[in-house]
Symmetry: C2
Subunit: 148 residues, 2 copies
């Protein structure tokens, strides 16, 4: 017999469904805000990764984005041609290639982040102070759920 994990509150299922829908909707809305319309989500994700974590090899980028190495290679080629990132050979292991953001790439990352946060800030500003406080307190909880 499968014992369910003690539903402390019967509303937990409701909360889960509501949270799922709100998360998908907000995510979709935020993704629409970007600095370069011609850039795909996958391409931007690579730039954002480089922006947050610094230099990566091709294999590391592929693993982080959960795509294959050839697929990532193509994305990187495209971004390199567009001038958003640069390849430099690794000094220690010459099989490896280090990939870094160019100034233009960093600008795209920062501008996109700025636009998304600006949209969110405007949305938060429309809330009541009580709602805003509540949400601010809940964000670390949300992060804990996402990090699970």
């Amino acid at each position: 017999m499968t014992t369910p994990p003690e539903p402390a509150s019967p509303d937990i299922g409701h909360a889960a469904a509501d949270l799922r829908m709100a998360t998908f909707k907000l995510s979709r809305r935020l993704r629409a805000e970007r600095a370069v319309d011609s850039m795909s989500d996958g391409q931007f994700a690579v730039l954002a990764n480089l922006g947050v974590y610094g230099a990566h090899t091709l294999g590391e980028l592929a693993a982080r984005e959960r795509v294959t190495a050839p697929s990532m290679n193509r994305t990187v080629n495209c971004l390199e041609e567009s001038g958003y990132l640069a390849r430099t050979p690794d000094g220690d292991d010459r099989r490896k290639v280090n990939i870094t953001l160019t100034d233009a790439g960093r600008a795209v990352v920062e501008e996109t982040r700025r636009r998304r946060d600006a949209w969110l800030e405007r949305a938060l500003a429309d809330l009541t102070p009580e709602q805003r406080d509540l949400l601010a307190q809940a964000i670390p909880v949300l992060r804990e759920v996402a990090d699970r």
Copy 2:
């Protein structure tokens, strides 16, 4: 020592950035939970739409998913071949085709929704009662932000 929350400084920019990151991460994690691994996100979105809003014509589906009619036609062909939806000619306007979920399609929608909510419910169950209450209160606020 863990610093207490700082209610005095409503750093709205910080909150926006945190919320953006948590939302993207949770959305990505939830999307990974699905009933049919071979089905793409786009295909599932069509089934989910039919599940929520009932029958649609091809054009209505295309508009709702913001893709072109030929593109949606191809997706619908694929889902029809797989047995997840069915086309039936419209009685009033014979140019139109009504598209409805089959039992198999409805099962995929419900099973995916069930898996995603089950994942979320387990994650929520790991929180403290205080965190869970806080998040439950914040979800309507989150929805208001997403609906903006």
